[in-house]
Symmetry: C2
Subunit: 110 residues, 2 copies
DNA sequence: TAAATACATCAATAATTTTTGATGTTAGGA
DNA sequence: TCCTAACATCAAAAATTATTGATGTATTTA
């Protein structure tokens, strides 16, 4: 059962919301992950193998960071054969970030 | 000297920017701090002594979290006598968050 | 079918962040 | 001047996250 916090604003903000936002902001709260998002903003869809040479990171580490972004629903994953293609979850990012930030972390936003 | 990352988007995104955003998102990436922001969104300006009973937290812990928000420039502090009043840095939050999120974390945004 | 590529996952370690309780500082009141 | 309230800060411990290198699993390709 969801714990209800008294109406604190003109929106009904429940505890579960804070938890959700915490996860999303945590995913954003890392320079390396912000860089990944910034690269994805350019490339539409990128496989891990393309990402590894661009971003200077061991493969397992990259995998770890991609997973965090994925679990926060900020990016999407699509498997094609042996390759896993990642792309931005544009709707989610727009719901989260200001237009100004979209210029940095979303394609063709400005 | 600031490391310049090649132009990755229609904005000139330098390494230092990622660092700045990392700090701000880190500050947001915590349920307790989000709750503090949400309370400040209602109250305009609140002293720590008013906050302590509302938010169930030892004083030193509250002080710690306020400092993190302050250092990320998401809130402001004003000293009046013995009291320290905190309030949202509305401009900064608007620059960071979507309108949708402003409804939760900013006053009279929706 | 054997080897190689493209990943994910795991367990151990390292690093960072958070919590706690104690102490320090400053301003105001008795 | 002494006492108290309202904080900030500090150091130690606890908790969480991140990094690393190794291993596992598909899917291709030779």
């Amino acid at each position: 059962m969801e714990k209800e916090i008294p109406l604190l604003n003109n929106m009904n903000v429940s505890a579960i919301d804070f938890e959700k936002y915490e996860q999303k902001f945590k995913a954003l709260a890392d320079q390396q992950r912000l860089q990944i998002i910034n690269i994805l903003a350019l490339k539409e869809s990128v496989c891990v193998c393309d990402l590894t040479p661009i971003i200077d990171m061991p493969q397992s580490k990259l995998s770890y960071h991609l997973k965090i972004l994925l679990e926060a629903d900020l990016i999407k994953k699509e498997k094609r054969g042996t390759w896993n293609y990642y792309s931005l979850n544009i709707k989610e990012l727009k719901d989260l970030l200001s237009n100004q930030l979209c210029c940095v972390f979303l394609p063709s936003c400005c």
